[in-house]
């Protein structure tokens, strides 16, 4: 099973980890770049099943960034799955939606997502939302 892991070694303080569930490689690469520069470590699941497996096996992350359209299991289905895991119940979820799936936003918020960003997105806005939900990393905050 392909399961990418991209973690930057912590220098001063341990970096908060964010789970990014995104099947589009280019989008994920950009997200990883932005989040790592923003002071976070990133774990990646490239489809719904990988995400389910990660959520079942790793410790809860500071935030889940979740694409709506995913292979095998949609982002909306994943929200339900994540919210059923006792340890993950309170982990904030930021949805990534495209213009065409904006109607899914209401469903996602109903299911338990905390916020959403529409693609194409403004990197600063995305990072601001991430900081708000995951907490600003200590190194940056200082």
């Amino acid at each position: 099973m392909k399961q990418d892991e991209h973690e930057m070694p912590a220098k001063d303080a341990p970096r908060p980890t964010i789970l990014v569930v995104e099947d589009h490689e280019d989008t994920f690469t950009i997200l990883r770049f932005l989040l790592e520069r923003g002071g976070y470590a990133v774990r990646h699941a490239a489809d719904g099943r990988q995400a389910q497996e990660l959520v079942s096996t790793i410790a809860p992350t500071a935030l889940v960034v979740l694409d709506v359209m995913l292979p095998f299991l949609s982002g909306l289905q994943l929200i339900g799955f994540i919210r059923k895991q006792p340890q993950w119940r309170s982990v904030p979820i930021l949805m990534l939606t495209s213009d065409a799936t904006e109607r899914d936003v209401v469903l996602a918020l109903d299911e338990g997502a905390n916020d959403y960003v529409t693609k194409p997105f403004n990197p600063k806005e995305l990072l601001a939302r991430v900081h708000r939900l995951a907490g600003r990393p200590t190194a940056l905050a200082s």
Partner: protein, 353 residues
């Protein structure tokens, strides 16, 4: 003598077959090596430029490496993908980076080429770059018979200068049925609803009924409230047109301006059931309790969709309650007609905890 001749031919055949097999083998090896080299080049290109573009999205990148001529198209492809992933100042940063590398000239050259895929990428790039030198090339292409090429040209023009492009594009939006409405809507949204909607409305006033209906659907798609008065004029000029009236009624329902209620009420008894349907759907969004009797009457319409929309409209009326819907249902003798209200009644009372 014969044996020697046969041996000679056999030898020649074996030699030719061997030679042919060797040639095929060499060709296969060359193709495989070519593919591996291409993959290697592509990987090397992405390894170098993807991080630079990612960085360029959020900050200036000093000291860019030179961009090899053979990588220029690959760069444009990657750069366009980046442009389509971001909004805001990131797009300006990406433009600045592209201009430093001089890929605007590459895009201009490719937009005049013969390879469709390269032309499309180049034209998209010229639009994002807002390259004024590309205006004439793109303007000529909006009349092209290929719908993809012409629509990409239209989109690029709108990005370069929306104010200048829209008067040129709107007549094409009205008449080019090979341009999907969803794609045209994207172009209009990028130029801004307030700018686009009045132009669509003005063109609808002078166009054929079919064109007017298409333009009104576009106004609805971009939520062009500023064109509402123009659409009312179109509707009043073609009060029974089977294409214009449904499109206009949908728009009126979307805008929910109470001044349009008398117009909507005129259409709920129209002979054309599609017009009745849109009138009922719009009344469901903005009607008052005055419309209750009319909507109840429409529950007996011969068309199922009409009955469905009437029931939906009833359920949405202000001050409508579940109890009142139950009472209305009880007053209807025909069970087939009454049952159309059921989806809005929720579970039977005895099943509600």
């Amino acid at each position: 003598m014969v044996d020697t001749l046969i041996l000679h031919w056999v030898w020649k055949t074996v030699f030719a077959t061997g030679l042919f097999s060797m040639a095929v083998l060499v060709l296969i090896l060359a193709l495989r090596l070519g593919r591996r080299y291409h993959a290697f080049r592509r990987h090397a290109f992405r390894t170098q430029w993807h991080p630079l573009l990612s960085r360029g999205v959020i900050e200036d990148v000093p000291g860019l490496p030179p961009l090899a001529r053979r990588d220029r198209y690959a760069f444009l492809e990657l750069w366009v993908a980046f442009q389509e992933s971001f909004t805001g100042e990131s797009r300006e940063r990406l433009n600045h980076l592209a201009l430093r590398l001089g890929v605007d000239r590459t895009a201009l050259r490719l937009s005049r080429g013969s390879r469709l895929s390269k032309r499309l990428v180049a034209m998209t790039a010229l639009g994002y770059l807002r390259c004024p030198e590309a205006w004439d090339v793109l303007h000529n292409l909006i009349r092209h018979a290929n719908p993809t090429l012409s629509l990409v040209a239209a989109r690029a023009l709108a990005r370069i200068d929306g104010n200048r492009a829209l008067p040129l594009l709107v007549p094409h939006f009205a008449s080019r049925h090979d341009w999907p409405l969803t794609e045209v809507t994207q172009v209009l949204r990028e130029t801004g609803s307030d700018l686009a909607a009045p132009m669509l409305g003005q063109t609808a006033l002078t166009g054929s009924p079919e064109q007017a209906a298409r333009l009104i659907r576009l106004i609805e798609a971009i939520r062009g409230v500023t064109a509402l008065s123009l659409v009312r004029e179109v509707l009043d000029a073609h009060p029974d047109d089977a294409t214009i009236v449904p499109a206009a009624l949908r728009l009126l329902g979307q805008c929910e301006d109470p001044r349009d209620l008398p117009r909507l009420r005129r259409y709920v008894r129209h002979a054309n059931w599609i017009i009745r349907l849109q009138a009922a759907a719009a009344l469901g969004k903005m009607g008052t309790m005055e419309d209750e009797d009319e909507l109840i009457a429409l529950l007996s319409d011969q068309h199922w969709w009409m009955r469905y929309r009437a029931a939906e409209g009833l359920s949405r009326l202000p001050q409508m309650t579940r109890q009142r819907l139950i009472t209305i249902r009880a007053r209807i003798d025909d069970e087939a007609i009454a049952s159309v209200l059921d989806p809005w009644l929720g579970p039977p009372v005895d099943q509600v905890a």
